[in-house]
């Protein structure tokens, strides 16, 4: 065998080994991402269940001892960001992503319900809540814009609570939520403090749908 042929074979071996290493690394990172998401969801699940249980145990004076769920909502938002990134990396049809989204949606619904129950039990003004329904099946041209506008609003108005749901997710609890809130499939769809709003044209139009004075900010808007 000539020197060039021998070197070419070695080079081919190196190239295959390098490519395989890269493929393995990417796969490993993706698996680690899914594992981290799963761990966060497990922790949040326990936290929410704990909050829920505390709320049930102390029905007489829930507001005295139940910690605010604001922290949990913040963690839920971070989880949503991570899940969205994982979805962009792994694909929306990835079974693990779909499983995590199911679990995430359940957590969101639980948090939404507890927040409402706490406000009612404590007699406090409930926070402004947005149920946002989107689709990434290619049938919602404005969903990316709507999602980004909501991210901006959530960042600017810390008291605002945004719960995002993939309208097409095959999850019983989500289907029930959609049925209860009577949201139709014109996406993006928003339920802002029980008031429905469909489509997205601009940030200003979206802001007009919020109750007057509800968008109080702790930091200057501009």
């Amino acid at each position: 065998m000539s020197l060039a042929a021998r070197n070419a074979l070695i080079a081919l071996g190196i190239t295959i080994a390098l490519t395989a290493t890269v493929a393995y690394t990417v796969n490993y990172l993706n698996r680690a991402r899914v594992a981290e998401l799963s761990a966060i969801e497990d922790k949040l699940s326990i936290d929410i269940l704990s909050l829920d249980t505390q709320f049930s145990l102390l029905t007489a004076a829930p507001c005295d001892s139940v910690a605010s769920s604001t922290t949990l909502t913040g963690e839920l938002a971070d989880l949503g960001t991570r899940l969205s990134y994982a979805e962009s990396q792994l694909g929306s049809d990835n079974p693990q992503v779909i499983g995590l989204k199911d679990q995430y949606s359940l957590l969101e619904i639980r948090d939404y319900l507890i927040t409402k129950q706490l406000a009612a039990a404590c007699g406090t003004k409930p926070p402004v809540t947005v149920l946002y329904f989107y689709s990434n099946a290619g049938d919602c041209a404005d969903c990316d814009k709507a999602g980004y506008a909501l991210s901006y609003l959530r960042s600017t108005y810390p008291t605002l609570r945004v719960y995002s749901f993939d309208y097409n997710l095959d999850l019983g609890a989500l289907k029930t939520l959609i049925a209860v809130t009577k949201v139709n499939d014109t996406l993006p769809a928003f339920v802002i403090n029980s008031k429905h709003f469909y489509g997205f044209t601009s940030l200003e139009d979206l802001e007009k749908q919020f109750p007057k004075g509800s968008l109080a900010t702790s930091t200057p808007k501009h």
Binding site: L3, A4, A11, L18, V26, A149, S151
Partner: protein, 412 residues
Amino acid sequence: MSPELFAYPFLFVAIFVESFILVTLLSKPARDARAREQGAATPSVAVIVPCWNEAATLGATCESLLALRYPKDKLEIFLVDDGSTDETAAAMARFAEHPQVRIIRKENGGKHTALNAAINATSAELVGCLDADSFVEPDALNHIVACFTDPHVAAATAAMSVHRPGNFLQHMQNAEYIFGITLRHSFASVNGLYVTPGPFSFYRRDVIEKLGGFRYGHQTEDMEMALRIQHAGYKIENAPRARVYTQAPETLSKLVKQRTRWTSGFLRNILGEYRGLVASRNHGALGMLVLPAALISIASGILLFSLTLVNLGQNALAAIDVRVGIPLSYSMLPHVALDWFYFPANVYALLGIATLAASVSLIAIGKRISRTPGNIAFDIVPYLILYVFVVPLWLITATSDVARGKRRGWRY
């Protein structure tokens, strides 16, 4: 199907070629070449400096040749004025009385005719060329001459880098030239060179004459001659420590014009008269690996650039579209936490990074092998930032010229 999938085969080939270069550098012929001492033999040598309007740099080029540490009675220098219209004749006149210098004046006929005129006028055993914008180290010729100990060697190339790179673009070219030192040194070890560049390549005169002298070669007479030498079954060697410095274009426009000429010359030679060399088992690494890889690199350069451009364009448009109407204080800032979770690891990006890392290693190796002076960091940074964006400019222009049969002037 993702358009990125089209890029994978090209990235695979790029990594394969870089691996081949590295493996070949470690093999015995390359190690022997690096260990090669300057020989005791001092055959007669003629260095030809073809000039067409080179008044500005000719003097320094000639001075550097006269400073070569080589027996003066064995070295003659031919300054060939190929019908210059500037002060070249006056610049040459300074050396008219020098015993080693011979001046030839002729009608303008192109670089190949200038080289042939001097070859016809000398009886030196070895003839070399030095472009009038290049300068040599004093011991460069000794390194080159040592390559001709092997009787099968018909030509030898030097180690080129940029003469005093001034701006960002010239530093980028310096990195590229030093990468070329590694490439040439490695490919020479398996007789895979297909160009004997104008700056300080040498030939056995009898081989040149046997092959019929230099030709027009689609404005790349050095490449055409190298291909003819390979076609005739001779070897082309490389002297990695024969350092020569050449002036690099200082503007993007001049660089694109120069490289368009080189690339279209390569395509016309390879797809024309020397098509038979491609995929030819008889020509070993040159036929089976180097030339196919060079052709693939042109296609991949265009494809990867187009893909990157389309991807960047689409992402930029989508990002702008999503941000319309959102205050700049929010939309202009990144909102992703610094966390490993968001590390954009995909096979395409990581293979691209591996290719770039290997390129940087090859540049560092080239500098070390040739002992080229200067801080390489100043060259690598512009190389990494600029190179992938400028190369496609001449690849696309040259490919388009060849496809349409368009020919451009030498300096246009």
